[in-house]
Amino acid sequence: MATNVEETYLYSSPTTFKVSSKDGEIFDIDDSFINQSKTIKNMLNVLDIADNHMPIPLQNIKGTMLNAAIVFCKYHKNDLLSIPDDEDEDDFERDAYEPRRSDDISEWDKEFIKQFTVEEGTLFDIIMAANYLDIKALLAVGCKTIANMVRGKNSDQVRQMFNISYDPPGEGLNTPRNSVTSKESGDNQLLTTQEKESRCKTPSPELMYD
């Protein structure tokens, strides 16, 4: 906590900064954003910008996503004060290996994340933006939302939902690129495919239940 206070002092004189998105939109950001985005926080500490009129370029993020992230941080500005400690640390009967909870998304967050969809890919965009900006709460909401969509579905349903094409061995995404360009690597490709086949037999969930 003590270090947090010191860090805040470093950029405390101007409380707002400007950032610019990939597509050139410029946004004002305040403490709520700076405190939650570790990336920005670190950047400001290193840059020591005196002139807050010069926007910090965020080349990886589109304006719509940046705007959404700023809105998210404004809403959650007071959350930081209560970083959840590992409450159950001393609960010895707790299984350390339970999957993390994803049913604890707040109502506001649920509504917020609804504007992003799989079809348009915007759900992945906001997750990538959260990841780049290192906004833990936003990243968690995005990842939990996807986990909740996947849970309980069989592989076909997941394929359909996320528009994943089934790639039989030797084709599709994982085919080594260089195999197309040179003959030599054509042999390699054969080998790799075989290896892959043996290694990557499509796992069947039923494996565990026979």
């Binding site: 010895f92 890919g121 992945f124 996947v150 592989s155 994943i164 994982n174 990557c200 796992p203």
Partner: protein
């Protein structure tokens, strides 16, 4: 390419679509994001997701995703085939493993699965196939092991436990309802007493020399945070009194010398008062504590105590309760089920002083009126539940409704 570039019309809609639609899909997300998503998934959903395409297979079923694995929910379906052909291949980095409830995993498959040298936690609760050979494998292959749970492993008898003493990093041991005895337990405690934090010896029916074991735990295991002695076998009044530095009948002790226990650790400690500052949970259920034992005990060990179970300890006194109010500021849960001595006054004091108290079980305490409990429920809102199953003073006729 150059032709396309020359034609402006084709470029503009293209850039527009990248504005509106992202090129991202689930199966081109980077590893770290997919990994985070997968940490929220149960095993079955994870395997199904990874069956959709090879990219996801490679990323989602990465060995790092299997640092922890709980097979308990799938106990009915786990076969040696699935262990050999899937889990052993994926679990090369495993640290936390639960095989609780699984049926007859072959020794060979078990050995292979544990062959990572990295295991920290192993839960084998209710695994009836566990025998001495499996214990030997654990003691050889899991030197880093800190947490072991063998509760309800009925097939293990007497010397089967002996190899466990080779584990030197144990923080948590759970032998609830096993047949472990003092000959195998004492060496295990002696090799790990410096870091033991959680010990469950509940309902260990073969336990003898329990007085010595309990004294050892209370006087040497200074890191102890939780101790469960629910229905622990063989605890005598002297055992309890030695914890608080008292002893009623020393002659009795001399007539029954410990058989073969070397006492280098406990020399001159028999009358030492035990002082455990970190103790948070203690279960003395059905242990028949001597009167006023708790009173002296909490003075030394009550500081951090959060859960205290005195279930069916019929001889605990009102002075014990007053001392709990005095010395257990952290207390969250108290269970005095079945006491016919404890009165309303002393419980009221506990409620007043222990402001963190959330659960209080007063079932079968017939000195406490139901209407008083109703009043307390209104007065002490922080206490979420004051439990009262069966109040003997009201409606004796209804005694069997409990079991209806």
């Amino acid at each position: 390419m150059s032709q396309k570039l020359a034609n402006d019309d084709t470029i503009i809609p293209l850039t527009e679509t990248t504005e509106e639609y992202s090129s991202l899909t689930l199966n081109n997300l980077p590893f770290d994001i997919l990994f985070t998503i997968c940490t929220y998934l149960d095993l079955r959903s994870l395997v199904r997701l990874s069956s959709t395409c090879r990219y996801l297979y490679d990323k989602c079923l990465h060995p790092l995703q299997f640092q922890t694995l709980n097979l308990q929910p799938y106990w009915y379906g786990i076969t040696n085939y699935s262990i050999d052909n899937f889990f052993s291949l994926k679990c090369t980095q495993i640290k936390y493993l639960s095989l609780a409830w699984t049926k007859s995993i072959h020794l060979k498959s078990f050995t292979q699965l544990l062959n990572t040298q990295k295991l920290i936690q192993l839960n084998l609760a209710c695994c009836q196939y566990i025998n001495r050979a499996y214990i030997d494998v654990i003691s050889k292959q899991c030197q880093q092991l800190e947490i072991i749970n063998l509760e309800n492993c009925f097939s293990l008898i007497s010397d089967d436990f002996i190899a466990l003493k080779n584990l030197k990093n144990l923080k948590s041991i759970n032998f609830y309802r096993t047949k472990i005895d003092h000959r195998t337990l004492i060496p295990l405690i002696k090799n790990n007493y410096l870091h033991l934090e959680y010990v469950n010896l509940g309902a260990c029916q073969q336990l003898s020399e329990t007085d010595y074991i309990v004294k050892l735990l209370f006087s040497k295991c200074l890191q102890l945070k939780a101790l469960d002695l629910w229905r622990a076998h063989g605890l005598s009044q002297n055992g309890f009194l030695s914890i608080i530095g008292e002893r009623v009948n020393v002659d009795e002790e001399k007539q029954n010398p410990h058989d073969g226990i070397t006492d280098e650790l406990l020399n001159n400690l028999t009358t030492t008062v035990c002082c455990l500052e970190n103790l948070k949970e203690l279960d003395f259920g059905w242990c028949d504590l001597p009167p006023n034992f708790i009173q002296k005990f909490v003075k030394n060990c009550g500081k951090s105590l959060m859960k205290l179970f005195l279930t069916a300890c019929r001889r605990i006194t009102n002075d014990d309760m007053i001392a709990i109010g005095e010395y257990c500021p952290q207390l969250k849960q108290l269970d005095i089920l079945g006491s016919r001595i404890i009165n309303e006054e002393s419980i009221h004091l506990v409620l007043k002083k222990c402001t963190n108290l959330e659960f209080l079980d007063l079932s079968f305490c017939d000195k406490i009126e139901s209407k008083t409990i109703d009043m307390w429920n209104k007065m002490y809102k922080q206490c979420k539940s004051i439990k009262r199953s069966y109040s003997p003073r009201d409606q004796i006729d209804d005694i069997y409704t409990e079991f209806a």
